[in-house]
Each structure stands twice: as C-alpha cells, then as structure tokens.
Symmetry: D2
Subunit: 277 residues, 4 copies
C-alpha cells in the first residue's frame, strides 16, 4: 500500500557498487558498508543501483544480487532501501521491480529510458506506470536526471499525471539544477517526497523546502551534511554556507574518505573507463 516508506526524510546515500580488483561484485563488503553508513555517517537510507552505483552499466542478474545483499544487511538496521530498477528495456525494468518487491526492498525508483526516448510526457508516464505496476506494493519514485537521460520534461508538468496514473507513486529523486521546477513540485504536491539529488546545491534546495536528499557524497559526507542541515534549520546561514562550500571545493580523498578506508577494503569501480558526465 505504498506505506513502507512513510515519509522519506533526511539523507539517502546513493551507494557505490563494491567490486573486486577483477571487476566482479564484491558482495561481502556490503555488510560493513551498511554499518559504516549508519555508524560513521549517520545515514539510514540507501539508494541502490543508481547512477553512483553504476546500476545502468550492470546486468540484470548483477543488479538482483546487489539488491538482495543490500536489503539483507540493511533490513532492520536502516530506515529504508530504495532500489533503482530503471533500464532501457521495459521488460528488464519490470523484472527488476518485481524482484525488488520479492526480496524485501522498501521502495523502487526508475529513470526514463534514454536511448530510444519517450515521445511525449504521457508516453513517459505510461512507461513508468508499467514499471511501478510490477511492484504494486512498493512506493514508486520517478528518477529525474535530465543531464544523463536527455529527457527534459519539467517534473512539475509530470506530477499530476503520475499522481493520477500510478497508484504507488510516492515522489521524485530530483537530480537537476532547476530549482523553480523543484519549488513548484514541493509547493503544489506537499504529500509527495521530493528528494533533491544535486548535492552541490543542496543548501539552495533546502531553502526551497527540500525534506530529503539522495546523493553520492552522503556516503562520506553524511555527518557533515547533517551539520549543514542543522545549521540551516536554526538559522545559522553563514555556517551552512561554509559547510556547503567545503564540500564543493574540498578534494575528496578517495570516494569513501579517509575514515571509511580504515574500515572498508578499497571499493573498486567496475567500469573505471566510464563516467557519468
């Protein structure tokens, strides 16, 4: 009944996918990864197999194994596990959605297909509807990331249609710099979760009313970001700005940071030669 994730608040780490030096999945690391996020970053929600996790570059089988492993270790420890099931293929997306439900995920999310693209807003919503319907009990989040998909429909123009057509529609992972679109969604669709996804300007999004955020930096800057959010909440803008700028300028020493390295074995990326930009 789309109720597993009541109201997604706070930070969601878009998890990296741990690999061995042979470019195979490094599943045993995941348990430590979960503990690290909770204990060291205070992060209690994860977004699995998204852009950060290179989900689109993995096979369906690999994605299923990852989803299972993350759910297994995060269950009862974390607040929620959202599994990204978007693919170029509708069949694959539906397959992944059904699998996410069966293995105990709390929510699913999907991007628009980006090679052959939806021909209209309605076409996109119909596509997402079919994906969501493959896991009707899980809250569904549209993953908006126009810089990578090239699908640039304003989310505000889609919200009403998604609300009407997709019974399990619950919100959006909004990874775009257009804060006007974001504001219109937040203000006019208060009952949905609008999770902001451009870490570098989260502070701007907070001012516009963002309750939650999904991103890769929360893997290693979760605690610091919570500090920024707290500073913002109590009106200490200067401190909030300082922390936001710190993230943006600071050289990140390895993608899990120095502390993480002490705990976790080095996380390899699968396709080091691919990059999301």
């Amino acid at each position: 009944m789309a109720s597993a994730v009541r109201r997604l608040k706070g930070l969601v780490a878009a998890t990296f996918t741990p690999m061995t030096t042979m470019s195979d999945l490094n599943l045993p690391v995941i348990q430590q990864y979960v503990d690290y996020l909770i204990e060291k970053q205070n992060v209690r929600n994860i977004f699995v197999n998204g852009t950060t996790g290179e989900g689109m570059s993995l096979s369906v089988q690999e994605r299923k194994m990852l989803a299972e492993e993350w759910v297994k270790h995060a269950k009862n420890k974390m607040d929620s596990v959202m599994v990204h099931v978007g693919c170029l293929s509708l069949e694959d997306s539906k397959d992944l959605a059904a699998h996410a439900a069966s293995c105990g995920a709390d929510a699913i999310s999907a991007v628009s297909p980006s090679f052959i693209k939806p021909s209209s807003q309605d076409a996109l919503v119909m596509y997402l509807k079919e994906v969501a319907a493959a896991a009707p009990s899980l809250p569904f989040y549209y993953y908006h990331i126009p810089s990578l998909t090239g699908v640039r429909y304003q989310v505000f123009d889609l919200m009403g249609k998604m609300q009407k057509e997709i019974p399990s529609f619950r919100g959006v992972k909004f990874s775009d710099v257009n804060l006007m679109d974001f504001s219109l969604c937040i203000h006019n669709y208060k009952e949905f979760d609008l999770l902001y996804g451009v870490d570098e300007q989260l502070l701007g999004a907070l001012a516009c009313g963002a309750h939650g955020a999904v991103g890769s930096t929360y893997n290693y800057l979760g605690k610091t970001t919570y500090k920024m959010m707290a500073a913002f909440e109590k009106g200490d803008l200067l401190k909030a700005q300082e922390l936001q700028v710190l993230f943006n300028s600071g050289p990140v020493q390895g993608f899990l940071g120095t502390k993480a390295k002490m705990i976790l074995p080095p996380l390899k990326k699968k396709h080091l030669h691919l990059c999301a930009s």
Copy 2:
C-alpha cells in the same frame, strides 16, 4: 575609482525599453518609469540595455540615447544606474562604455561576445579588460548568461583572472542556475558583488549568500520580492517559499502589471518577434 557603487545591495530592475507603437524609442515614458519603480516597487537600482531591455537588438545610437535618458531621470533619485555595454563588437562595446562614463552612469556591465566566441578563459578576460578600460572610473560587472551566449566557463574559474587583470572589476551579474558555481564565488570573493539573475530561484541563491539580484520581474514584483527577502531574513521560510512560488506560477498580466498600467502608457517591445530563449 570603482567606488560610485560601493556595495550593490537589494534589487536591481532590468528595465524594459519603452517603444512607441511604431517601434521607435519612447523616451518620454522613462521619467514616469523611474518614479514608478521607486514609488510602487521600492526598487532603487536599474540595469539598462540588458537582455530584458533588448539592448543587444538595438543600435549603438539607440543604446546611447537610452542610457542618457535613464541616467538623467534616475540620477539623485535612485542609488545606481548600471548600463549594459556588451556587444558582439569590441569597438562598439568600448564606445558604449566610454559613453556610459561620460553621461554619468554609476557602473557598466558586459556579456561575452556570443557569435564568434572567446577561444579561452584568458581570451574572454582580455576582451572584458579592454571594455572595462574604456570607462576606467566605473565599476565593471561581468554579465554571465550562458543560456544565451553559449559561453559556459564557470565564473569561479574567471574570478581570479578578472580581479587581477581588470582594475575596475567589481562583480558579476550571475544569470545561471548553477548554484555551486555561484556559492564558490560568493564564499571565496567576499569583497565582490555577486548579483543573482535567475529570478525564479532567487530564494535558493539567498540561502547561498546572495546580497543582490538583477532581473526583469523586479519591474513589477519588486515590492513582493522584498517581502520574500524579509521573510527569509527573519527565518520565515514557509512564507518565503510561498512568495517565490507565487512569482513562478502566477500569470503576469502584462509585463508591468496592473498597477503599472494605470500609471504608465503601455510599454511596447521593439522586436516582438524576437524572444530570449
């Protein structure tokens, strides 16, 4: 000595260019326009011959007449008149810069050339340096509007060069949605004016530390925007958000609004068939 505009704060209206129904300049309207901005919108700074004013679509001669008229009526009434002198031609830009100084403007600003473009960041800064040097006594503001110029260098990467090369460099009219770039500039170049230019997401920019803003909506929403800024300042985020969203959703009834229409004759646009998008 780049001191006329000490510290530009608050709202700057990017003025429309009044036209007659015959597409000629309607200069006599300008006096009323100035009074209207002050009295009805509480706006005390103007940005003349910019994108809103269709400056790039006017001849050099027309731009000079407009600059003179705006300065004549705003002098002593307003806090500052910034004249946009950017052109495709360096000679024209220098001509307009020198003219702005001679007629009493308080500051100048220029976009990058956008047909034949600068081949590097340094080339752009050298270009702007020559423009600024034609009016050495006036504070100079770089006008960053990549959606129209196609010149996408991050402003943060230009700041140091402009500071070093352009003695009269004073700040940037920043008309882009990238708040990370904007934040980095504000935080690292505190002594410069970073005027935000995307009205639709000013609230986000305020959170990042914006002190001032330039835009077309402040012609008719100046007072309301000041209310939003006040709400933000005293921590009433909900009200600030409500006001920001109001601007973004509301149908604007004629570009000077209902009240303006009572005071001013209708402002025609010159090239109704051109549009900035």
Copy 3:
C-alpha cells in the same frame, strides 16, 4: 578470422522487430520478412536488433531469440546477418556477442554505452575490444550514432586505435551527417567497411566513396535505392537526386510500405511510445 563477411557491399536493411498486438515478439513473421526483403527489395544483408529494431529497448533474452530466428531464416538465403550486441552493460554485450557467434551470425556491431559514457577515446576502444573479444571469430563493426549516444568522438580519431586493439575490427556503421569525418575514414582506411547510416543523405555519402549503407528505409525502399545507386554510378546525377529527394519528401505509408503490407501481417512496434529522436 573475421572473414565471414568478406566485404560488405550494397544495402543492409536495419530490420524492424515484429511484434504482436500484445507487444510480444512475433517470431513467425520473420521468415516471410526475410523472403520479402530478398524478393521485393533485393536486399541481402540485415542488421538485427539495432535502433530500428529497438534492440536497446529489448531484454537480453528477447534479443537472443530474435537473433536466432533471423539467422535461421536468412542463413543460406542472404549474404550476411549482422547482429547488434551493444548495451549499457558490458556483461550483457559480451553475452550477446558470444551468443551471436554461437547461433551463426556473420558479424556483430556495438554502440558505445550512452548513460554512463566512456571517459576518453581509449576507454571507448577498450570497451569495444572486450565486446569484440567475446566473439573473436566474428567481424566487429563499431556503431557510431552520436545523435542518440551523445558520444561524439570523430570516428577518424578512433580508427587507428580500433585497428590496433581489436583483431576482429572490420568497419563502422556510420550514422552521422558529418561527411568530412566519413571521407577521412574511407580514404585512409580503405581496407575497412564504412557503411553509411543516414539514409536521407546517402547520395552525398556515395560521392564520398561509400560502398555500403545500413538503414531502416531499405526495408521498403531497397529496390528504389539500388536504382539511385545505379543512376549515380553511371553518372545520371539528376535521376539520382530525384530518387534521393523522393525518399526524403514522400510520405511513407506504413513502415513497410504498401507492397509489404500485402505480404506481411502488420508489424507492430513494441514501445510505440518511444521514439529515436
């Protein structure tokens, strides 16, 4: 040893994927489709599971079934069956490449990944090398279609690297309007097949030396295109131009044309709401 396709000449039909009205694969139609292409269009080469065939929007399993069926019916009747194995996932591409070899395809081809993209020319070539190595006995063709992938490296810059790194490299399906790049490839890499893929300007490509072409229009305009090629070959430019323009202006009545409809049951497209542009 990359010899199955000795020298690909003439037209290659990029086949549509037949669907039932229920959006399932309509495999039984494929035998008729093959006969139709040979008998009615004089087309003896096919490119399966490409953009026209919506291969990127199908699951790995569907693509395998299609490849098998096309090979089964085209074997011994057609000159060659090239199977497109490009995916977002390297694992899936390798899987499809190996499958293509095992089921008797004559050649394989792959696009660059387009969501998470190669970070350099070398990264792209390394990726393609791994795909090609999964079917080392089959000639490999790089599928260049920057308008859809967003991967815009000039092919001429890649040719030497692909020749050096990929033993089975045999040529390129070149689907771009840049004829300078195309010409440089043809002239400097005479031993490779440069198959032109923008049907609407094939005549221009012929002048630049194209020996072969791959495209969707050859499904229903194969015979007419051969007429254009013959006219061009014997110097009757006016007739060639007339025929080229005819294709470009003519309303295509159903994507397999009137004659095809008499022979084949209507070919449904799977994702009618997706479109490649």
Copy 4:
C-alpha cells in the same frame, strides 16, 4: 530587380578582413587581395563581412568601410560582391543593407539574429524581409549557419515563405551539414541559388546538386577546389575524393597559404582571441 547576380555559380571566397598589427583595418591590402583571388585562385565572387571576415565582430562603421573598399576593387574585375549585412540589431542590418546598395554591391546576405532569437519561422522571415527591403534592388540571400546562430529551422521550411514575402529573395548561403534539407531546397526551388557553405563536405553537396559554394578555404584552395569540381563533373570520383580529403587533412600553412604569402603582407585577424566554434 534582383538581377545583378543572375545566377551565382562556382566558388565564392568568404574573405578574411585584413588587419594591421595594431588591430586596425588594413584597407590598402584589399586591392592585392582581389587580384590574388582572381589570378592565383581563379575565384571571381566574394562574400564580404561574413563569419570568416569577422563581420559580426566589427562595428557598423568598419563594415561600411570594408564593403566600399571591396566593391571598389572588385567592380568590373569580379563577377559579384555579396555583402553580409546581418547583425543582432535590425536597425544596423537595414543601415548596412542600404549602404551596400549605395556603394555598388551586387547582392546582400543576412544571418538570423542570434542573441535574442526569432520566436517562430514567420518572425524570422519578417525580420529578413525588413532587412531585404532596405536594399530592394539587390538580390537577397539568407545566411543559414545554425551551429553559430542556434537558429535551427530547416531551410526547406522557410523557402516558400521567403519566396512569398521577400521580393528580392534570391537564395541561401547554406552552412550546415544536413544534406537532406539542402537537397529538398535544391530540388524544389530550382530557380534559387543554393550556395553550399561547409567546405569540408562540398563533394557530398555537389552530388546533391550544388551549383555554387561559399567558404573560407576558397581563399587559398580555390583553384584546387575547381579541380575537384571538374573531376566530379567528368565522373572521376576517385580524384575528386582525393582532392576533397586533401583539403580536410592537410595542414594549412597560414590562412592564405604559401603562395599568397609571397604576394600579400601577412593578414592579421582582428580578434585573435575569438573563434567561430
């Protein structure tokens, strides 16, 4: 009556603007430049103040001085002088058009405004109509160069409107890689001049029926290009291809080539820090 240029055939050199080392116009060089084009390159048509000539980066006054000087020296020696009068400002364009007529130019051409852009195809045609009407006795050519203007309307969609609205409309300088659009124009508007403007793929355009071409390379490769055209005309495709590729790969030693350098003083570019790409 738009008859000065009856039918523009062959090559048109888009002239560079000679500058002194002080970045001033170097007008005295123009006489030699004209003689050089005729004698060494066999080029008898010029396109003045276009992209190659950096016309858009010059002031109106500079453009007028250049137009006069080119006309003065080319008159009676060359077949035609076409002056580019396009600007961001309609007033300036009209001024330049009237001036071109008064100083004896044979034709004019104009790009679309590119900062504030036409809001529709009709708006663009109305704009061009006003420009053309300022020099009603001169044949008018629309200058289509979407890579620089960002105005991407297919020329084929504009042809009928321009024919209907602009009495002096005579043709198009077509600087785009889309040969389908080019072919449709040539085939359906046989009485107009479609001058091809992407030198690097002229051979492809010849196959589509191009009668003439305008470009920067014809300043130094005019004679060689005529050889390519002759080879193409008599069916020697291999030689034509070889020559086309030669232009595209050859390092051009100084923009007027070695021979030119012996005759002319070095031609400086005005804004060396700007580049058209």
